[in-house]
């Protein structure tokens, strides 16, 4: 969704989309209609069996399958890969103990002189990279890599690596079934290696012709961009609103309790593989744009260099909330069908009901609020389209059961005459003070109305990525009380109250203080709206990426492609190929002095917090690498159109 907005927003760039799908459902959900500046869309599945031509013994006529020599090469490369994956990571422990204060040396490469443990770690990282790229080269020349990765040979190599001295403890106990599971998953993760996305240098098609690869998510999704950077020197920009590695860990932890549980060796090896892959991605990426400070911390932890990190907040469309936000505060008018006083004493919770939202604490807090303010109301409004912004956690499952539980609790705490759903029209002082509603239901046609219905918006999550409801409330100029979770703190800044999670006392105290003080409510709301408009609009996000695109392209040198990115390829020469050389004429007028801005920002490194917006959508699961071909004329056309 945010990708879509980005594509539309950057109309003067031409994009090619390369997407990986994770399930048949995702593939069937299809594409929204793409804007005109999308030149090409390639989709490859990461699920199901490998494609027929790849898994066959022979392979296609142009790229014959593996012969004896290829098998030997494959053995070497895969052994590198497997042994580094199985190797115990000394780096992890050492870093936690050692570099707590000096955070800048999280670099897997030998950039900074490190104490004694550094050489093996760096050597391992290098070996992983060489194995990975070796396999990629092989897959480029011959088809049949997926079959080889599932072959007996690969399983044997994996077994040997697990039994080798210095391997992970969990790997030692790996059984044959575990090895098979690992090989299978690795084959799927490495499928981007054998795709035909890359093209030949100078052919003008594929990733070879791109000026920039923008990968959405680290790890597997960024593999294509990684290879393009390796082969063609294309700079890689990595955007992660939720850190993929963290999601992998959460899914893995959830797997561990599943009935068909993956064994500890499987999870350990896959985690190690993902960690190394992500580290490689972070090392090679020219710039990484986390969506919030939380993602940024994870990225730093996993090997991203600080000077290459630049937070770009996800952006949201502020337009639907303008009317509510601009409306003068309370005295003048009531909300939909209710008096001003009632609305002022109404708390609103908006979001998707789920265990992570901790509505139980909210209800308990509301009992205290009721004691102090007897006519207070709480409206729990379920937003039907999932508005979650950052990481989608597996806890989202079982929402229905949680909803029922919360309703039961509400009915128990606030015994109503008829328990259950209540609508706005029937809200009488005698009824239940807690109501469960849905956006789109009677009286609440839109999300903005939901926020307009209350004087204070409450967010009680214990886990939160980028808190979309909070930003929406800010757009609506509502005073907010939220729990400290995820990116809440950096989003709200000083324009709302933040309380610790799971603390009903603090929550009720904060809510009470706002309920009793309309002036303060208005003040906070106005400040929040101003802040949101400044930081979290979609436009901000697009402009940030516009600048980053140009900046990265300006560093890309046609001739001096080191292949290793900036740290391997010698001194980068800024503006060896100025962006203006392939931009339409009118462009400099729109953005005077962009070049300076770009260089300055990169030199300083990640200081800027450029606001923006992110959506969930199927896109977030894809690795898409928008690419901007060199041809200036085509860009001009697109711009004119």
């Amino acid at each position: 969704m945010w990708c879509d907005r980005l594509l539309r927003g950057l109309g003067n760039h031409e994009f090619e989309i390369y997407a990986l799908t994770r399930s048949a459902r995702q593939e069937e959900s299809g594409w929204c209609d793409l804007p005109r500046n999308v030149a090409r869309v390639c989709v490859a599945p990461l699920w199901g069996p490998a494609s027929a031509s790849e898994s066959a013994d022979g392979g296609g006529p142009d790229r014959p399958g593996f012969g004896r020599r290829e098998r030997r090469r494959f053995e070497g490369h895969f052994r590198d890969l497997a042994e580094t994956v199985c190797a115990a990571d000394q780096e992890e422990g050492q870093r936690g103990a050692g570099s707590a204060a000096s955070g800048g040396t999280h670099d897997g490469t030998a950039a900074a002189p490190r104490p004694t443990d550094a050489p093996p770690a760096a050597a391992l990282t290098d070996r992983f990279a060489s194995g990975l790229y070796g396999l990629a080269e092989l897959a480029r020349e011959r088809s049949g890599l997926p079959a080889a990765l599932r072959s007996e040979q690969a399983v044997r190599i994996l077994e040997a690596a697990c039994r080798a001295p210095g391997a992970l403890r969990a790997a030692h106990s790996a059984q044959v079934a575990d090895l098979l599971a690992v090989a299978d998953r690795m084959e799927r993760a490495l499928r981007p290696l054998s795709l035909d996305w890359y093209g030949e240098r100078g052919s003008g098609s594929g990733l070879a012709a791109a000026d920039l690869c923008h990968a959405v998510g680290g790890g597997t999704a960024a593999l294509a961009g990684l290879l393009a950077g390796r082969w063609y020197g294309t700079p890689l920009l990595l955007t992660e609103y939720g850190v993929r590695l963290r999601e992998h860990y959460l899914a893995s932890a959830a797997d561990a309790v599943a009935p068909a549980a993956a064994g500890a060796p499987v999870r350990a090896l896959l985690a190690s593989f993902q960690r190394r892959l992500v580290r490689e991605t972070y090392t090679r990426a020219r710039l990484i744009t986390p969506g919030n400070a939380h993602a940024r911390r994870w990225q730093e932890r996993c090997g991203a260099r600080r000077d290459r990190l630049r937070t770009v907040y996800p952006g949201m469309d502020a337009a639907p909330f303008t009317e509510v936000g601009e409306k003068p505060p309370e005295p003048s008018g009531g909300g939909a069908g209710a008096g001003a006083g009632v609305r002022g004493h109404t708390l609103v919770w908006v979001g998707r009901i789920g265990p992570t939202k901790d509505l139980v604490t909210l209800l308990h807090a509301f009992t205290e609020i009721r004691r102090a303010v007897p006519d207070a109301r709480l409206r729990i409004i379920a937003a039907s389209p999932p508005p979650a912004g950052g990481g989608r956690s597996p806890e989202d499952t079982g929402d229905a059961g949680y909803t029922a539980h919360v309703r039961a609790l509400a009915a128990q705490l606030f015994p109503p005459e008829p328990p259950g759903v209540r609508t706005l029209g029937t809200r009488t002082p005698g009824g239940s003070p807690v109501s469960f509603e849905e956006v789109g239901g009677p009286g609440l046609p839109s999300l903005a109305d939901a926020y307009a219905a209350g004087g204070v918006v409450v967010l009680s999550s214990i886990v939160e990525g980028f808190p979309v409801p909070l930003v929406e409330a800010m757009f609506c100029a509502r005073a907010t009380v939220s729990t400290e979770a995820g990116a809440v703190r950096e989003v709200i800044g000083g324009t709302g109250l933040v309380v610790p999670p799971r603390d009903s006392h603090a929550l009720s105290d904060a809510c009470l203080s706002l309920l009793r003080d309309p002036a303060r409510r208005a003040r906070l709301g106005a400040a929040a709206r101003a802040r949101a408009l400044e930081l979290f609009t979609a436009q901000q996000n697009i402009e940030a990426f516009r600048g980053i695109y140009l900046e990265l392209m300006s560093y890309w040198q046609e001739g001096g492609r080191g292949g290793d990115g900036a740290d391997g390829g010698g001194v980068p020469l800024p503006f060896a190929r100025p962006p203006e050389s392939h931009l339409p004429d009118q462009w400099p007028d729109q953005w005077p002095g962009t070049g300076d801005r770009g260089t300055g920002a990169l030199a300083k490194g990640g200081a800027g917090a450029v606001p923006g917006w992110a959506g969930p959508a199927g896109w977030a699961d894809d690795g898409s690498a928008p690419a901007m071909p060199v041809a200036a004329s085509r860009q001009g056309e697109e711009d004119a159109g």
Binding site: R150, R163, D358, E368, I462, T495, D509, A510, L524
Partner: protein, 562 residues
């Protein structure tokens, strides 16, 4: 689910110090075991009940103030922990920051208070409130006293000291609470992700656990908690499910004679029956169709024109062949559906079957100088052959399934690839032998029923060899070796064609010697020697290949669902 539902509306907030600033690490007394309020009789433990968050709020201007009380939360956790674990488990080792991680965390419940009493470095932190009954509290205190007596001055039994001990290690409470997470985690990052997902932030880590961030807290947890992999490797039970492998249709349970029915519940049985139904019913399809065709022949009037008979025969053959594919689908579904090679395999199989039906007649005719255009009336083999082959699909499917299920099960218990290979090979031999016996029996029975006599030895062996060849080919294609699965039947076809061709080419002048080997062996052993030897050799070669290939673990990938 969160812990929310269990909580009381007003969580008790006993004494606690409050951290002065956001980032300031709390002092050693910041987190207080709830029970100590009772033990210490409240002396010196000031209550901060004046509203943890309310008081700054009232002064707040324009909302710039952000409330951040740590104490309420801390006590929450403490109260929860205290009420959940028995008193004995709350006792903990003396632990300093430097020593953290050096000593494995005692698994709660395993370390008895008595054992701790014997060791001078164990201190007992009493959590009187958490002890559910007075009796238990009494034992805990008695043990604590014993510990004090045993260890002398090192373990001061005064409440103050105990309080310091209890609260000096807040990480331990965390370990108690998230033990499963910590034990299962494969590395510290997983713990970090899990902690964050449970609402622990950097701020919590800093304030309550005196760690820089969640990562370093997770590292300590990871280092202190004993992991599953540290335990000696448990013998793998046969019932453990394959890690990461998903049985697509529950085939494991689809054979009543394969899986001892441990849970004879009605739903389970219904599910098993439903899962087994295609596997039991579908392989019967070709046999049934073949029977129907022979029935149609039997009902045809004997004066029916030849064209009608040929038509019925052709339609019947096509129907039987078409029935083979659905019959084998339950077996082949675990293989990768690649279209390559399937067509070649189909062609080879058709040619082999055609030879089984008409090969003997053709060879005889060729050897005797025919067949001429005037006497082109092919004579099919005895009807027992096609019928037996059609019904042989049943044992083929079942034996292939047996092999797949059993080898998968052996896969789970195998320590190494070689170990697995040594366990899988007997299985392969057994299933091939089982099929061979079944086919031989089927053919004999079919011949007895239809022809009224036992089949000739040559035909019998040729049919059996053909069946085994096709069975091994089925196994190989079901386990992801389509190339080899094609090569065997194709080689047999080639040998048979070569035999026919050599006889034919012997008619050419000067090439008379070519047909002699076939002629001699036919005259010695009968016409069936050609298909029998061709199929037997191919089957043996294929079996040899399968001996190596199917004993490899990579042959037993399951189609993973995703």
């Amino acid at each position: 689910m969160s812990d929310g539902p269990e909580r009381e509306p007003n969580p008790p907030r006993p004494a606690a110090d409050r951290p002065s600033g956001d980032r300031t690490p709390a002092g050693p007394g910041a987190v207080d075991l709830a029970g100590w309020a009772g033990v210490g009789a409240g002396a010196g433990l000031g209550s901060v009940d004046e509203g943890v968050s309310g008081e700054p709020l009232d002064r707040g201007e324009a909302g710039e103030r952000v409330i951040w009380p740590e104490a309420g939360q801390a006590n929450d956790v403490a109260a929860l922990d205290a009420s959940r674990v028995p008193a004995v488990e709350q006792t903990g080792p003396v632990r300093t920051r430097a020593g953290a991680g050096s000593r494995p965390w005692p698994v709660a419940g395993r370390v008895s208070a008595r054992a701790q009493a014997a060791s001078p470095i164990w201190l007992a932190a009493r959590t009187g409130r958490s002890a559910g009954t007075a009796g238990r509290a009494g034992t805990a205190e008695a043990d604590a006293d014993a510990a004090a007596a045993a260890s002398g001055p090192l373990s001061a039994p005064s409440p103050e000291a105990g309080r310091v001990e209890g609260s000096a290690d807040p990480v331990r409470q965390l370990m108690c609470r998230y033990r499963e997470l910590c034990e299962r985690a494969v590395d510290s990052l997983e713990i970090a992700a899990g902690l964050e997902a449970r609402g622990i932030t950097d701020r919590t880590a800093a304030a309550r656990f005196r760690h820089r961030d969640v990562f370093s807290l997770a590292e300590e947890l990871y280092a202190r908690v004993p992991h599953a992999e540290d335990a000696p490797v448990a013998p793998v039970s046969g019932t453990s499910s394959a890690p990461g492998l998903v049985d697509p249709v529950g085939l494991d349970e689809s054979f009543a004679w394969d899986v001892p029915s441990s849970d004879p519940g009605a739903p389970g049985r219904a599910r098993r029956v439903r899962a087994a139904a295609p596997l039991v019913a579908a392989p019967l399809l070709p046999g049934v169709v073949c029977t129907a065709v022979f029935g149609a022949f039997a009902y045809l009037p004997s004066q029916a024109p030849a064209a009608v008979r040929v038509g019925v025969g052709a339609v019947g053959a096509v129907a039987v062949l078409a029935a083979v594919r659905p019959a084998l689908r339950p077996v082949l579904r675990s293989s990768r559906p690649d279209g390559t090679g399937t067509r070649g395999l189909m062609l080879s199989v058709c040619l082999l079957l055609a030879y089984a039906l008409y090969g003997d007649w053709l060879l005889t005719a060729l050897l005797s100088g025919g067949p001429g255009p005037d006497a082109f009336t092919p004579v099919a083999a005895r009807p027992g052959v096609p019928l037996a082959l059609a019904y042989a699909v049943v044992p083929a499917a079942w034996c292939a399934h047996l092999f797949a299920v059993r080898s998968r099960r052996r896969l789970e218990g195998s320590r190494s690839l070689d170990h697995f290979a040594s366990r899988a090979r007997p299985l392969l031999g057994a299933s091939a032998a089982l099929f061979l016996l079944a086919l031989a029996g089927l053919h004999g029975a079919a011949a007895l029923i239809l022809d009224g006599r036992y089949p000739a030895a040559g035909t019998h062996s040729a049919t059996t060899a053909l069946g085994v060849l096709l069975f091994v080919s089925l196994l190989l294609s079901a386990h992801g070796f389509p190339g080899a699965a094609l090569a065997g039947p194709a080689a047999a076809v080639a040998v048979q064609a070569a035999a026919l061709g050599s006889v034919l080419s012997a008619r050419l002048p000067g090439l008379g010697g070519l047909g002699r080997p076939v002629e001699r062996s036919v005259s010695a052993l009968g016409t069936a020697v050609v298909p029998a030897s061709a199929c037997a050799v191919a089957a043996l070669a294929l079996l040899g290949y399968a001996w190596r290939a199917l004993a490899g673990a990579s042959a037993h990938y399951l189609r993973t669902e995703h």
